[in-house]
């Protein structure tokens, strides 16, 4: 019955909202500090905060500071449930130059984000789009053909087509290799557990292979956001179930 109630449109719902009392909220904070940001996920509606949190999860030290903190776009969806709103806010941030978007990910449609202040590159700093063509590079930025070749060698640009390039991050290959290995590891862990489901808290406590350097929390948000698992809230925390 309670499930049915939750499907009512907004017009029927009473305007009163649940406001947790002071004691309750402190309890919440305690549990948050203990078990990671599980309790926090209900409160997050702001995409920027979600991005900051995800950035803090990225282990820069493990990559010897060769990579800026890379966030995958769909990881935000595990925090912000309204995807349309999240997309809109990310587009606004991109237009204002706060973040950069790159075509980087396991699949063709996937996008990743980097905060602009972490990227020290002149064209990446000025371009808000994810792809550039030759006209733009030659006329707006004043590059010669040789310089473009050098940029491709430095992997600031990657080839998309004749006369067209994707923006890229140097050393993105290292990241992607680690990332794909880690995602596989997480999915195998869930697949091997009973009924192909596992509590999120239990999963965080498991031993994590050392080669997948990105950390388990980073990958949990990745598989939730990419809709590879279903996220079911239970009385003992969130349950991740592998989607068929």
């Amino acid at each position: 019955m309670s499930r049915k109630r939750s499907l009512l449109p907004d017009l029927y719902k009473s305007k009163r909202k649940y406001v947790p009392s002071a004691s309750c909220s402190t309890e919440n904070n305690v549990s948050t500090s203990q078990g990671g940001p599980t309790g926090l996920s209900d409160l997050l509606t702001d995409t920027r905060t979600a991005l900051m949190l995800l950035r803090s999860m990225f282990p820069e030290g493990k990559f010897e500071n060769r990579l800026p903190p890379i966030i995958l776009k769909h990881q935000v969806y595990s925090y912000v449930k309204n995807r349309t709103l999240a997309d809109k806010q990310m587009n606004d941030m991109r237009a204002s130059g706060e973040i950069k978007m790159f075509k980087l990910g396991a699949e063709a449609g996937e996008r990743s984000l980097v905060f602009t202040n972490k990227v020290n590159s002149c064209i990446v700093g000025q371009c808000t789009d994810i792809s550039l063509d030759k006209d733009r590079l030659v006329k707006d930025f004043g590059f010669t053909d040789l310089e473009i070749t050098q940029l491709v060698h430095a992997s600031v640009l990657t080839v998309r087509d004749v006369g067209s390039w994707w923006l890229s991050i140097p050393n993105a290959g290292i990241f992607l290799k680690t990332f794909i290995r880690g995602r596989k590891a997480v999915l195998t862990m869930i697949r091997k557990s009973k009924y192909r489901e596992v509590l999120k808290n239990d999963l965080q406590k498991r031993r994590w292979p050392r080669l997948a350097r990105l950390g388990i929390l980073y990958h949990i948000h990745d598989v939730i956001g990419a809709d590879l698992v279903d996220c079911i809230s239970t009385t003992s925390g969130e349950l991740l179930r592998l989607r068929e």
């Binding site: 009512l8 029927y12 349309t84 063709a108 449609g109 998309r160 809709d227």
Partner: protein, 405 residues
């Protein structure tokens, strides 16, 4: 609901608001109906269903074994438990060999005729009363979809999309194809006329593109819908695409202002029908296994309207403008091919490869039905107990003794 009724009574809110709220509530709580079902007649997977526009009463369905069946969804007997019987059926409509029926549609003006098209490379116009083919048109390829405009007064054209890339417009008055619309590179899966502008046509196909046409213009397509709104697809040689996979579902909203497309990249997209801009609503991952046309349905006159998208063996219900997932309707045993929403009763009818047509009704009606069943059983129990009581108190042999005495 009681609060809104009270407010409506005292004139605080308009009746329309109450109506919208109730329609939306019914749309949100659909579930497999426990007291209504459709008689299974088809012997192949059901590819297309349509409900007639006038009464929303007759359900037309076409299947892969080339049979066409009409069910009556409003039977005269007023019983609570109903099975929709079939009124008439056509089996083997194309002679001895069985060709799949891909699309079927009622004539928008009345139920006197309907159109069907399919793997027999033909578009057929049927006389409903005699169940005979009145006219047929042949094409060079499997006809995946055809559509007749529901609002047109100036033309009676049927748009036909087939496995060849040209879209043809058939004029029923002239008895032949009058237009050819060239623009797609590959087979065309769905064609649909706008529900607002009678000359606007939308087509989508296996070349990942969705094209809007004004059939009065001779220049070709009006707009090619672009999923990135002209951003990263800035490269001139790269054609604008609406999806990253074949587009096999397309539907205008009932007011004709927006367009919903469904692609094999497992995405639904919402478009502004006038500017051709992507509205950037993110519906998340909606699994699309179908390799031919998938018929999606939209609700109408709800306050947030919903999209019903066939997703493997389930139907996903998502908010049209917000993109939030509302529920998943589970019930079919095999992949769902088509669904249609009844705007008056808020019922959803869906057909799938498991040869079933399922009826999805608001859960409040199921509760009413269960209450009705309880009442009925109580009544019958009451009767029984009364007869038991009379049987216990009645003495059947006393008179015999009295006679002896």
């Amino acid at each position: 609901m009681i609060r809104l009724l009270g407010e409506r009574e005292s004139g605080i809110i308009y009746p329309l608001i109450f109506q919208r709220a109730e329609v939306t509530r019914r749309n949100y709580c659909l579930e497999l109906s426990k007291h209504k079902d459709v008689e299974g007649v088809h012997k192949g997977s059901i590819n297309s269903v349509d409900l007639d526009v006038i009464e929303n009463r007759y359900l037309l369905s076409g299947a892969a074994d080339s049979s066409i069946v009409i069910h009556d969804t409003q039977p005269a007997n007023g019983e609570a438990q109903q099975t929709y019987k079939h009124v008439c059926q056509v089996s083997h409509n194309s002679g001895s060999t069985k060709h799949s029926v891909e699309t079927i549609q009622w004539y928008p003006i009345d139920t006197g005729m309907f159109t069907s098209s399919g793997a027999d490379y033909q578009l057929k116009i049927w006389d409903t009363n005699r169940l005979k083919v009145a006219d047929k048109y042949s094409f060079h390829g499997i006809v995946y979809s055809h559509h007749m405009s529901g609002i047109s007064v100036k033309h009676c054209l049927i748009a036909v999309g087939c496995s060849r890339s040209t879209v043809k417009l058939v004029d029923m008055k002239a008895g032949s194809a009058t237009h050819q619309l060239r623009g797609h590179d590959s087979s065309v899966f769905v064609v649909q006329w706008s529900s607002r502008d009678e000359f606007l046509l939308a087509t989508c196909g296996a070349d990942n593109r969705v094209l809007l046409w004004d059939i009065r213009s001779a220049k070709g397509s009006l707009v090619t819908l672009d999923q990135h709104n002209g951003e990263s697809a800035s490269h001139s040689k790269c054609a604008k695409t609406a999806h990253d996979g074949a587009v096999n579902g397309l539907r205008f909203t009932s007011d004709g202002l927006h367009l919903v497309t469904f692609g094999t990249d497992n995405q639904l997209r919402l478009w502004n029908a006038f500017t051709g801009k992507n509205m950037l609503v993110n519906y998340g991952y909606v699994y699309n296994t179908s390799r031919k046309a998938a018929q999606i349905a939209l609700s109408c006159s709800g306050s947030p309207d919903v999209v019903f998208a066939p997703s493997d063996s389930n139907i996903e219900v998502v908010d049209l403008y917000g993109g939030n997932r509302i529920t998943t309707l589970r019930g079919h045993y095999n992949s769902v091919n088509c669904c249609i929403h009844d705007c008056q009763t808020q019922y959803l009818y869906s057909g799938g490869s498991d040869r079933n047509i399922l009826v999805w009704a608001p859960s409040s009606e199921t509760e009413d039905y269960e209450e009705h069943l309880r009442d009925q059983s109580k009544e019958s129990r009451g009767e029984k107990s009364f007869t038991q009581r009379t049987a216990a108190t009645a003495d059947t042999w006393s008179s015999d003794e009295e006679d002896n005495r």
